[in-house]
Symmetry: C2
Subunit: 309 residues, 2 copies
């Protein structure tokens, strides 16, 4: 099959309790593409960058089989830049700088070669742009997965966000966002309300506490791997989404049971992502390493109980 993702390709500068970086390559679509490239044979990428971008980084993605021809390069313009500093608990961060640059005039165009992609993964970006991408697909993809964040859950974006949510099959957000979107504290109640907005599946990401997958009246829980250190959480959610969709694409199976597996693979990819700054760790992976990590997840939750009745 094939996977199309749209999202930011950008520069980040990151500070964590373990160190800090100069400008390094980041952006949701970058993490998604790296992660998905270990599973999907055909990853298509729609994004926008300035001509200040490090073109060697695109070459590395191309070598992984990612089609980067959908990345628009704006001459004389600067790429999107984000800078942030994480607190000790790694669950909270301060944004130090946000320079939208090329994002201000981003008008995503899906190349002819991409419009039949089987899976569409909408990375976290303005929901009105996500809508534009959906509308350019020739026919409805087999699966549309939406990642978003709390920033779009307020005026003037909420209307467009709800419209996108109504058009997708899977929504992935974190626990705080699920509470904000639904106005319910209980995640079970939140999930019911959000599923009623349209998506058939809801993934609630809880960071170091794992992830929940809701579908109709069923729920599946995937743990996060307990790690000695979380070095840099930037991109973990995008990496998760990329692994999740990449695995579904590779296995050509979008059933609930296969989504459970996909969540474990996505979680495994995220556990690699946080081990080093930026996309560094994702660049050096091998499939056997990924399988070993998935084995750690299996061992982590495996128990055998034979019920008496």
């Amino acid at each position: 099959m094939s996977l199309l993702t749209v999202g930011t390709v950008a520069f980040d500068a990151i500070e964590t309790p373990f160190g800090k970086t100069d400008k390094i390559v980041g952006g949701a679509a970058t993490y998604i593409a790296w992660s998905a490239s270990y599973f999907s044979k055909k990853v298509n990428l729609v994004s926008v960058i300035g001509d200040d971008f490090d073109m060697n980084e695109l070459e590395l993605l191309k070598k992984r089989g990612v089609d980067t021809s959908g990345i628009e390069i704006k001459k004389g313009k600067k790429s999107f830049f984000w800078s942030g500093k994480y607190h000790l608990d790694m669950n909270t961060r301060d944004t130090l700088a946000t320079e939208l640059n090329v994002l201000l005039e981003f008008n995503p165009v899906v190349p002819e070669a991409y419009i039949n992609s089987d899976i569409l993964l909408l990375g976290n970006i303005d929901p009105s742009l996500q809508l534009k991408v959906i509308n350019q697909m020739q026919e409805k993809p087999k699966l549309i997965v939406l990642d978003t964040m709390n920033f779009w859950m307020t005026a003037p974006f909420l209307g467009a966000l709800k419209e996108v949510i109504g058009k997708v099959d899977v929504l992935t957000i974190n626990d705080a966002e699920a509470r904000e979107l639904s106005n319910e504290y209980s995640l079970v109640k939140a999930a019911k309300k959000i599923l009623a907005m349209g998506p058939k599946y809801l993934v609630i990401k809880k960071g170091e506490h794992g992830a929940l997958l809701f579908h109709e009246n069923e729920v599946f829980f995937a743990p996060a791997l307990p790690l000695e250190d979380v070095f840099d959480p930037t991109g973990a959610g995008d990496t998760f989404a990329g692994g999740f969709c990449g695995y579904l694409d590779k296995t050509r199976d979008i059933s609930f049971d296969n989504m459970k597996r996909a969540i474990i693979y996505g979680s495994a990819m995220a556990s690699f992502c946080v081990e080093k700054f930026g996309t560094e760790r994702l660049k050096t992976l091998s499939y056997p390493e990924i399988e070993d990590r998935v084995k750690d997840f299996i061992d982590l939750v495996q128990f055998d109980i034979v019920l008496e009745d």
Copy 2:
């Protein structure tokens, strides 16, 4: 086998976002005994109460097969009383009143009939009292499980607490307490330091985020069941410990693999506990209901992945 527990049998007054109670029966050993009674044929209880206590409550425990002859009744004295109010997130609470009463002069005496108990579960109480109980056992029990809390992790109690920790097989604490005791933020690093203090097993309880079991270089994760509402979290940790030890006692198996199962049963018991105020829900359970709940846990985390290599 047989299970001996020592801890408080007391009155609580509880306020949650869902309502409030007058004085109801609580205390760590009460929750432990109710929970363990569904598994263990012989639950022995050492505690102290005043003659203001509701003796019908002891009769109910006796009917469940709990041996309450180790509960000292102090004439003319009042039972321990605690009152607290939970915040909306149910993870934090304010203590409104703590009246130690009979606890001030509690000097636990283990009856002759209890000194050969196979499993000793030390409920959360002053560590110097926990030490006194250990020293009264005729021979070292097959398993000693220690529950404690952050209050005992400061002067002048920390010395005695570390002495108890050095004598037990299993320690159960929550994530914040593990961090405080070890001075490590990473739970993996915290677990290593705490296991080096003596216990062979460490259970880190994370409330709505589940529980981790550490043993040597292995780790097991048990989820918490996503619930529509947590009505009253009081006693959930004690109920977990009671179910955990009760299951080990019933199955006569203290291996790591069986501890995994015991954690699932303990988590199932805790998930019932929080559904109603106090011990109310624990009083009306049946074993088939417990098995059904354990089935929910199995379904929650079950996935089948066949690795390629």
